[in-house]
């Protein structure tokens, strides 16, 4: 399954962490909740390696570690990848004497996390004033539905604003700042903001990726402009990921920075607070699934459908794609429909579903907005209706291939700077040069009938030298055949 993560777009928390200073990472590892969250971001084999070393007291070298790995190419490359990631995140440290050890603070805190020791309170402090049990209390414990509702409205408010469905008023200033900072929207001359290509790509991602992308931009903003401590902010994010949905937590024990964060996160729908000044907060589903890595728990889809009353129904996808490029989306959410409109021709709308069609024009429109074919495919994949998931191949291969072909149509010309060699005297001369150039692997194009060869920029010098050598050879052999080689740069 193609899980597309747009590399240049720092959506991935992992890449953000990798770019952090080693000392910052060390500080992060002082919280067990953070250790657990970061641990879960690692590739599978890396997690196993960490676990194998976690309770070991032996000193290992890289060669010792390799003993655990099967001696085939795939295994070894996975192993190298795992080691590389571990070292980049400063979880595993290679010392001068070639021994490998876990980062000592990571090791200690992660052990604590598994054994339940320590007094770090990094998994959230409960708000347990006795009054919440009494029925007479004015605040009733918000049930999970309220929390979901809150998360959904707040988050969709942001997305709606981006899409420009004008039924919402613009979200808070801090949201606007993040959106412009992330270049998801830009200032349109005169009137307000306009969505960018990045913004379109953003819309196609699953909610979890969106939230992280958003938080990371917020993090940048926070450290630059609000002078917040990155470690504290990150720790707070990771702690949120380990909290229980539907529980209330106390603001006590939070640092000033983190209390400040609460307000902003309430605006994004990650946190619910009954009152601004409340001494407790409730994480919503957006927050508790932050580190679980699975997608779209708060699906923006048709939760108002009366028949599916349980939560699981809303988690599932809603799109059915047929081999004839017809698309049926069981949703009544304006937002989902606008997103679909990015790359489909909408046809009919019913009370609980819309029908649409994927056409060359509609997909090209999306591609021109900078959305890639793989993004469309991954969006369709991740939002596929459960009925589709029962089939061996999720999406019809005709549709997948065609979307990719439409993308390739736009990339038919590849421009390579090169030198054109022409006017060889004889075919034999042409052949010798071509053969040599082929062995060097620098031929871009050649034509036997026209006796012309295109050589890459990199190979030009070597081919030129070869021809000169040949000419010198011929002359010294007394022959008068001179092949003229014209090096003319061409497209």
């Amino acid at each position: 399954m193609p899980t597309v993560i747009v590399a240049h777009f720092k959506t991935n928390i992992y890449e953000y962490l990798e770019a952090l200073q080693k000392s910052t990472l060390d500080k992060l590892y002082e919280e067990p909740a953070t250790c657990l969250a970061i641990f879960r971001l690692l590739p599978s084999l890396a997690r196993q390696l960490v676990m194998s070393l976690l309770f070991s007291t032996q000193i290992m070298s890289k060669a010792d570690l390799r003993q655990w790995i099967k001696n085939d190419k795939e295994s070894l490359s996975k192993f190298e990848e795992a080691l590389d990631k571990l070292q980049k995140l400063h979880i595993m440290i290679e010392q001068e004497n070639k021994t490998i050890a876990l980062n000592s603070s990571f090791k200690q805190k992660f052990q604590e996390c598994l054994t339940g020791g320590g007094t770090h309170q990094s998994f959230g402090k409960l708000y347990n004033k006795p009054h919440r049990h009494s029925q007479s209390n004015s605040h009733k414990l918000p049930d999970i539905k309220t929390l979901d509702e809150h998360a959904k409205t707040k988050w969709e408010e942001i997305l709606h604003f981006m899409v420009g469905t004008d039924r919402m008023n613009s979200p808070g200033a801090s949201v606007l700042k993040v959106v412009t900072k992330a270049n998801l929207m830009r200032e349109k001359e005169g009137k307000g903001l306009e969505i960018t290509n990045k913004g379109f790509q953003f819309l196609l991602q699953d909610v979890n990726t969106q939230v992280w992308a958003f938080l990371i931009q917020y993090l940048d903003l926070a450290s630059e402009m609000l002078h917040m401590n990155v470690v504290e902010v990150l720790n707070f994010f990771f702690m949120l990921g380990s909290l229980e949905l539907g529980q209330d937590y106390s603001v006590e024990g939070l640092t000033d920075t983190q209390r400040q964060l609460l307000d902003d996160l309430t605006n994004y729908g990650l946190i619910y607070r009954p009152k601004k000044s409340s001494k407790r907060y409730y994480p919503t589903r957006l927050a508790t699934t932050l580190t679980s890595g699975n997608s779209a728990i708060v699906s923006n889809s048709s939760s108002n459908n009366p028949t599916d009353d349980d939560d699981s129904a809303t988690e599932q996808g809603f799109i059915i794609v047929e081999t004839n490029y017809k698309l049926y989306a069981y949703t009544s959410s304006q937002l989902q429909i606008s997103v679909l409109n990015l790359f489909c021709n909408l046809q009919f709308q019913f009370s609980n579903m819309v029908t649409a069609e994927l056409t060359r024009e509609s997909v090209r429109k999306a591609l021109k907005h900078g959305i890639t074919a793989s993004q469309i495919i991954s969006y369709l994949t991740s939002h596929a209706h459960p009925q589709m998931k029962k089939r061996p191949a999720l999406l019809p291969s005709t549709v997948v291939d065609q979307i990719q072909l439409w993308e390739m149509e736009l990339n038919r010309l590849v421009i390579t700077n090169s030198y054109l060699y022409k006017e060889f005297r004889t075919f034999a001369d042409y052949e010798v040069v071509l053969k040599h150039a082929n062995t060097l692997g620098v031929v871009v194009w050649s034509s036997d009938s026209k006796k012309m060869i295109g050589i890459t920029e990199a190979g030009h010098e070597r081919v030129k030298a070869f021809i000169k050598r040949k000419i010198v050879q011929r002359r010294s052999n007394g022959g008068d055949t001179t092949s003229s080689a014209g090096g003319t740069p061409a497209r």
């Binding site: 641990f39 599978s44 084999l45 598994l114 339940g116 959230g124 909290l243």
Partner: protein
């Protein structure tokens, strides 16, 4: 066939269900210099480690006790546990499971009547535990429509084989093989080789490992038994290759090399009989054929 889904191929994204069967035979544990309590501490950390690997990893724990086998986790709640205090120093999921396992385990040990009434005190109810594990896995696999959950079974064993359970354990092993569920076996204590369990891991493609030093249980669990089915593709894990396919005779439950087999019901006997004790067929002993196979 009940399971048509592809449970054989594994992906990195799969959720893993670990069904842990703990042999809690108190008589055998008492003989060991490594107490069950100590072992449980290691096992709980191991369970936490398994859950830490992935957020959607899950676990089920079954105790194979003397005279009874019982689920320790999960147990459907009859009355909602009102004590919902959250301990801020531990990940909530870890704590819930740890507590339930400890509570149910001590409940199991308080009920001493069952073991006392049971004649065979040397072994535990492994066949029952395995059957329950398979039923549980069957239910989870059926509920998961897209074949996302990959299951395996790990047995922490101390007791010797009970010959009475031979057929039922073999039935479990073949079912596990059919469903592509590997059975890993970690023998913590005991000088004997559990032939049945060794076969279980051999036939289902699991690992069998006998600990020389039970004190190192956690480290062994972490290295040899934590890797999920995806990671096992890439790892060389410790394990013993040699498998003894010895069979137990039905009459004395002895492990034998050469036996007499009833041609009707395939019961194995260690000496020639006139009548099969299982199916009451009158039997004649074939003279040892001189031209074994006639062409």
């Amino acid at each position: 066939m009940s399971v048509l889904k592809d449970t054989a191929t594994v992906n990195e994204e799969d959720a893993n269900l670990l069904v842990l069967i703990i042999d809690t035979n108190p008589i055998v544990w008492r003989k060991s210099n490594f107490s069950l309590k100590e072992a449980l501490r290691h096992i709980l950390v191991f369970i936490n480690a398994h859950l830490a690997l992935k957020h959607d990893n899950d676990v089920a724990i079954i105790a194979s006790h003397v005279g009874v086998s019982k689920f320790l986790y999960p147990i459907p709640m009859t009355h909602e546990n009102s004590d919902k205090t959250i301990f801020p120093n531990m990940y909530q999921k870890f704590r819930v499971i740890d507590e339930k396992v400890i509570a149910n385990m001590s409940a199991l040990f308080e009920d001493v009547d069952t073991p006392n009434n049971y004649p065979d005190k040397a072994s535990s109810m492994m066949a029952g535990a395995l059957s329950m594990a398979l039923c549980y896995i069957n239910r989870i696999t059926k509920a998961d429509e897209i074949g996302h959950v990959k299951s395996r079974i790990l047995i922490i064993s101390v007791s010797p084989d009970s010959p009475y359970q031979y057929i039922s354990i073999m039935n479990c092993i073949f079912s596990a093989q059919k469903l592509c569920i590997p059975i890993d076996v970690c023998k913590v204590y005991g000088s004997d080789t559990p032939v049945f369990l060794q076969q279980a891991s051999h036939i289902t493609g699991g690992k069998y490992l006998k600990l020389e030093m039970p004190q190192g249980l956690l480290q062994f669990l972490m290295i040899a038994f934590l890797p999920d089915r995806y990671n096992k593709k890439y790892l060389c894990l410790p394990g013993e290759e040699r498998v003894d396919f010895g069979a137990a005779c039905f009459c004395h439950k002895k492990i034998i090399d050469v036996g007499y087999v009833c041609s009707v019901c395939l019961s194995i006997f260690c000496r020639p009989l006139d009548e099969c004790s299982t199916c009451r067929t009158r039997l004649t002993l074939t003279s040892v054929r001189q031209n074994g196979r006639v062409i």
